[in-house]
Amino acid sequence: MFDAREKMLKEIMALDFMAIELNLYLNTHPCDQKALMIFVNTAQRARLLRDNYENMYGPLTAGASNSFPWPWIESPWPWEA
């Protein structure tokens, strides 16, 4: 059903979403050590997976563009299913 790129992107999206959720929670619970540990771990896993993805499929942010020709403009854009 999904190609490999899409599958990997979805894994990154899931990890990034966990980080967003924990970020909001930690804003109002800054002394919750367990949540902080999960956040640090999640953010790290997301970073590693993102690096792999960008090496294989191209940049997720303009700042991660490092090949010729300028790869940032390549489709698909997120709203194009």
Binding site: D16, L24, T28, P30, L60, T61, P78, W79, A81
Partner: protein, 224 residues
């Protein structure tokens, strides 16, 4: 500032066009309780917040709302992509098509364009945070209305995600409000009232210390 990431916060992949549904969903793009209003509301209010928790909460939820704006825009785009003008007209999008073709433009479900009157930024932290709690509930109710109007699982799935986020944001705003109230209710005295003051109430104790905490009153008001 912000950095764009080439991905949605939650995936949108709609197989079947449905312009009639798009006409309703677009209210969460440019309607009174939509994501555009939400992001501008929170990102504007954060400047005048008195606590670190409230600043961070409004900043980060305001940022997440921008990602939700993108999700709703993607739903509208995919629901109307390639639909012939005649069908758009038949499904109630004739006026919209005349002005905007199939472009995504911020309007409510009745076609009224977005207005800044949809947002509130009062400069009073209690007024603003209570406004935000209501805004999250109104957005949740709108998503429930939209979910009740569709049978398409491809559309219901992201709408359910967005609805759940309103519930979480409501919770976080409630916590931020409680922390702001605690700060405003603090008494500006750093020693306990000494025992002997109980005997002689006036001695060494400022009259303000005997007042009940100024519940929910902003610091500026207390100064007057």
């Amino acid at each position: 500032m912000w950095v764009y990431e080439k991905k949605l916060e939650y995936p949108v992949k709609i197989k079947n066009c449905n312009p009639k549904l798009a006409k309703y969903v677009i209210t969460q793009y440019g309607g009174p309780d939509g994501e555009l209003a939400a992001s501008i509301r929170y990102l504007s209010q954060r400047f005048s917040m008195p606590t670190e928790v409230a600043k961070a909460t409004l900043n980060d939820i305001g940022t997440e709302e921008l990602a939700h704006l993108e999700i709703v825009g993607s739903i509208v785009y995919q629901l109307t992509k390639g639909v012939p003008a005649k069908i758009l007209e038949k499904e109630g999008l004739g006026g919209y098509f005349a002005d905007h073709d199939r472009a995504v433009y911020p309007v409510n479900a009745s076609g009224v364009p977005f207005t800044a009157a949809y947002i509130a930024s009062k400069g009073d932290p209690i007024a603003d945070l209570v406004e935000d709690l209501a805004a999250e509930q109104k957005a949740r109710a709108t998503y429930e209305n939209l979910i009740n109007m569709t049978d398409d699982p491809d559309v219901i799935d992201p709408l359910r995600f967005l609805r759940e986020r309103e519930v979480v944001h409501f919770q976080r705003f409630g916590e931020a409000l409680r922390i702001v109230q605690e700060k405003l209710n603090e008494r500006p005295f750093y020693i306990k009232k000494p025992e002997y003051a109980e005997v002689s109430p006036a001695a060494n104790v400022s009259p303000a210390a005997n007042k009940s905490p100024a519940a929910n009153v902003s610091p500026a008001f207390q100064k007057k």
